[in-house]
């Protein structure tokens, strides 16, 4: 009698595990964008260069210490320490073997907007696709056209240095279930300048990847959006950039735009850390785009500094 019961129990347990696995499998399945006709179009590389600059591609995908022209060789290799291990930016130069030269525009769009590779694997969210998800497909098309003009590199991509439990990519699908949301963070604005700024900050500019605190699973804490965060590199605190006293309340829009151009704060302190390379990129944008970023940052709700620990 007891044996029968336990056999029954075992069976139902197995069924339960089976159902759980099936649910997990379904939830973590890599998803792809619809293959829109726009991805068949040939992009404008001149516009694509602007997208490249605001998206900051070179800041991660050029070789460590690369300067000037060398920043356009997207050989990868820079390391990104995190609580989950060390990530290495891959080669995204147009080399067909070592880079992404064989990719279609649709492949690039899936990678950037959905975080999935052409061979059906999730990318780790160290790649800021949760922000790029808010990009306009036309910008991806133009970016592809620009990337195709860059020099190829035959530097092999380095594999990430992760603990065994993080090497299996399927659970990243679960992370996406919780934290991937391409909807605008703040409602679309009727003001054209603010709306442009919203697009640049929330989308390609991916400001929140550093300026928003993360929970223990590495997901952004949206109630603390742009309100500052402990540095992922270990030392220091990435500043609050909401218009609160703790953040940009004392800055005018002109001063914010000026900082993104010259790297000087209103009291002539200079930009430092990882933001140095960001300002190298924003300095290449149009005055109007820098003003748009400033207008958006001054339009969102001010929040006190997120916890420092």
């Amino acid at each position: 009698m007891t044996e029968l019961l336990s056999a029954k129990k075992l069976l139902s347990l197995a069924a339960l595990v089976g159902v759980a696995l099936a649910v997990f499998w379904a939830l973590t399945m890599p998803r792809f964008l619809p293959n829109l006709s726009i991805f068949q179009q040939v992009g404008n590389p001149v516009k694509g260069e602007d997208v490249f600059n605001i998206a900051g591609c070179a800041s991660c995908h050029s070789a460590e210490g690369a300067e000037a022209e060398d920043k356009l060789i997207l050989s990868g290799g820079r390391e990104f320490p995190s609580p989950f291990g060390t990530f290495y930016a891959p080669n995204i130069s147009p080399d067909p073997e070592f880079g992404i030269g064989g990719w279609s525009t649709y492949d690039l769009a899936n990678a950037m907007m959905y975080g999935v590779s052409p061979d059906n694997k999730h990318y780790y969210p160290a790649f800021p696709y949760s922000s790029y998800a808010r990009m306009n497909p036309q910008d991806i098309v133009d970016l592809k056209a620009f990337l195709d003009t860059l020099p190829p590199s035959s530097e092999p991509s380095r594999s990430h240095d992760l603990p065994f439990y993080a090497q299996w990519r399927r659970p990243v699908g679960m992370w996406k279930q919780f934290f991937y949301d391409p909807a605008p963070v703040y409602p679309n604005s009727a003001d054209g300048l603010i709306e442009r700024g919203r697009y640049l900050v929330e989308g390609p500019g991916h400001c929140s990847e550093c300026h928003t605190s993360r929970n223990p699973l590495g997901g952004p804490i949206m109630s603390l959006y742009l309100a500052g965060a402990p540095s992922l590199e270990g030392e220091g605190y990435i500043p609050n950039i909401t218009p609160h006293e703790d953040g940009l309340a004392g800055w005018t829009e002109t001063e914010i735009a000026n900082y993104l151009n010259t790297g000087f704060t209103p009291d002539f302190d200079s930009v430092g850390g990882l933001m140095v390379e960001v300002v190298e990129n924003t300095a290449l944008l149009s005055d109007e785009d820098r003003r748009a970023i400033a207008a958006y940052l001054k339009s969102i709700p001010g929040k006190p500094d997120a916890p420092r620990e």
């Binding site: 220091g236 000087f264 302190d269 430092g272 850390g273 140095v276």
Partner: protein
Amino acid sequence: MKKALLGTTFAIVAALGAVTLNAAGHDPVEQRIALMKANGAAAGVLGKMVQGENPFDAAAALAAITEMRDIAAGFGDLFPEGSETGPNSTANSTIWSDRAGFDAALAKYLADTQAAVDTPPQSLEELGASFGAIASNCRACHQTYRIPR
């Protein structure tokens, strides 16, 4: 006359000694924060001229550049072993793990400010060039040797 001269010399030496003593009495963390603030104020004098907020003034520009040169000359001494942390310190541990690189960055800053002192800018254009060269030191050093806050 001789006595007066001696007296003046003595007063200068005493004053210098007092300044040094006073400086030595302060915590190096406080000192370097104060000096960087002064450095920022001097950069502001130049930056506001370059950005057209204030008119070009050769004498004021030279004074600001000279101050930056003087700060550059002694700044490295304010990071002794044991001063890695302190209230409001934004010094990066890389200063101590890569001391040679930090010293080289400061030497470059000193050389660039010295060059501008030796050939003081006489026009807004010349100031723009000097300021560009000097300011590139700010971000280069802060990129590696300062933590964000």
